[in-house]
């Protein structure tokens, strides 16, 4: 009864606060749209490379769509040339020694240059190997001819000596056989490769990896902030104190908040998931219902956490100060950087981040199509987080009323 009135009040207040509503519903869509466009264009990046006294064969080998060549004739240091022309790198040759100097202000450009050079080296080595094989084959053929002639003459000789020593001649012929088979001219096999993608296509960008994580994150972030600030306002204006002077139970206050803001979190989640499906045409291998379920649980954790963290803030300004401490680290451990590539001591930290469980369950449903049973343990942990923070909330309200 009281909880219902609490929910009604929270909804009325929220509906009258148009700006907060806009923040909650439009800002996530704006962020996701921006990210969509930002991560689309990074595939056709090119790097400019200065070239000084390099063998043309090597230059030819390096050549690809992502590298622009600039011939350099000046004798100045690599540093000066790169600075003056804003090249991503400079390659120069002295005898057998090749030096690649990189500006390295943009690591992705450096990576393009390094990769191109490596590829070129492999290409050249392969070519060298191929010519070597050809040369060998010729030599072998010549040898073969010489051998067969020798065999013939040997055979003639052995016939003559057959009565004395027949086995010796046979042994010699035998040893000859392996060489003959080995020297059969091999036809070079050309493999044709067909790539199949379980998720996405050859056009997939980093955005496709990022999106499941970001959906979880924006829901988490906005619900955390708004619910935290709402309860904080209730503390600072004294209405919480006033409310506790009525026979309401502490649990009823918390559940009223949970249900009231939960409704907005639900609408926000539906909006975000619907938007990503319709506008970005995101491919979802698993069930949409699982995605909604994960997001709603994440929102509940954020809600309970926001309410709890607001206990430690005495103003809206202080509440915002908790974002770098509580929210930002969660992004790092949410799977944008793969957890199993982290240092060993860092990995357990991910295990205490609610967003890690939410985001990895999201990625698994969207990209690997796992079922409800597979994400159940992670959902269970999220429920555990929410329960933990709710209990802490009920205890922290003892400050205001001891019964």
């Amino acid at each position: 009864m009281r909880t219902v009135k609490m929910v009604k009040r929270v909804l009325t207040e929220m509906l009258r606060d148009k700006r907060t509503l806009a923040l909650m519903f439009l800002a996530p869509l704006l962020i996701l749209t921006l990210m969509y466009f930002l991560f689309q264009s990074n595939t056709d990046q090119t790097a400019s490379l200065g070239i000084r006294n390099v063998d043309t064969t090597l230059v030819k080998a390096i050549k690809n769509d992502h590298v622009h060549f600039h011939d350099v004739s000046s004798k100045e240091s690599a540093k000066t040339i790169i600075r003056d022309h804003d090249y991503a790198g400079l390659i120069s040759q002295k005898g057998d020694q090749i030096t690649l100097t990189l500006q390295n202000s943009d690591q992705s450009k450096s990576a393009i240059l390094k990769q191109s050079l490596q590829k070129a080296q492999i290409k050249l080595k392969m070519e060298a190997a191929a010519t070597a094989i050809k040369g060998q084959q010729k030599a072998i053929k010549a040898q073969q001819r010489a051998l067969s002639q020798m065999q013939k003459s040997l055979a003639a000789a052995s016939k003559a000596a057959a009565s004395e020593n027949p086995s010796a001649a046979r042994r010699q012929v035998k040893t000859q056989t392996p060489l003959t088979t080995a020297s059969k001219p091999k036809s070079a096999t050309t493999y044709s490769v067909n790539t199949h993608y379980l998720y996405g296509s050859s056009d997939s960008t980093f955005f496709d990896t990022l999106l499941p994580i970001m959906i979880g994150f924006v829901v988490f972030f906005f619900v955390f902030l708004i619910s935290g600030i709402a309860l904080l306002r209730e503390r600072t204006t004294g209405t919480l104190n006033r409310l506790l002077a009525t026979p309401i139970k502490r649990g009823e206050i918390i559940s009223g908040y949970l249900a009231g803001y939960g409704i907005f979190a639900l609408i926000q989640t539906l909006l975000i998931v619907g938007f990503t499906i319709l506008a970005f045409k995101i491919q979802i291998l698993g069930s949409v219902w699982n995605i909604l379920l994960i997001n709603i649980l994440l929102a509940f954790v954020a809600l309970a956490m926001g309410l709890f963290i607001s206990t430690f803030a005495s103003s809206e300004f202080q509440m915002v100060q908790f974002i770098p401490v509580v929210v930002i680290p969660q992004i790092f451990f949410s799977g944008i950087i793969p957890i199993d590539q982290m240092a060993n001591w860092l990995q357990p930290i991910a295990r205490i981040m609610p967003l890690y469980y939410g985001a990895s369950a999201m990625s698994n449903v969207i990209e690997k199509g796992v079922t409800f049973i597979d994400i159940l343990p992670k959902l269970g942990i999220l429920v555990g987080f929410a329960a933990l923070f709710l209990i802490l909330n009920i205890f922290s309200m003892r400050r205001y009323r001891q019964v």
């Binding site: 009281r2 009325t12 204006t237 004294g238 209405t239 006033r242 026979p247 309401i248 009323r401 019964v403």
Partner: protein
Amino acid sequence: MATTIQVSNLKQGYGKTIVLEDINLTVHNGEILGLIGPSGAGKTTLVSTIMGMLRPQEGTVTVLGQKMPNRKLLAKIGYMAQTDALYSALTARENLKFFGAMQGLGSADLKKQIPYAAGIVNLNPDLDKYVKDYSGGMKRRLSLAIALVSNPDLLILDEPTVGIDPELRQQIWAELHNIAKEGKTILLTTHVMEDAEQSDQLMMIRNGIAIAQGTPDQLIKDYQVKTVEDVFLKAGRQQDAHS
């Protein structure tokens, strides 16, 4: 006469700081008790303890025959806080409805009680305005109406007359006396001497200790002074002389 509030040997504080010591207090049905004292004397702490927001460190508090703290008993206590604790995004009517419902009033009771409570503080014409558009005095009056809306047996008012003009103050006092005549008990804190003179009983608190207690007339007589204000000043000097 039945006892509404009974406080015996109360010691109260936060952690190791002691705010109140040796407080004994009895308030009967139909009485208006005024708690006076400088700010920081411990008035609000005493009020919170009587309401059961704080558990007594030592001693007992009984309200309407029940030992405090007692959550359910809060339904019978109307409370007006020192700060205007109102939802500014809601209208005055919505605030009254919400807090009334929290006190346990059904919608039929609310329909009857809201015009009554708002009438006492002259807010009926402005009930459907948003609280954020209210002036300071209007907010104070709305807070009082919220305390009155559930028609409680015990009314606890923390500084009720701050920011209320003299005419309305008189009107409110007349209504408070009416409420008391019905057998309801009123406890209010104040540092306005006019309010103190209107009370049936006075308790003067200074540095956490009750320095004088009695009816205004009795106190004036006992201390051989002319006004309640002088009683307070003289009692304060005596307290300083003893310590």
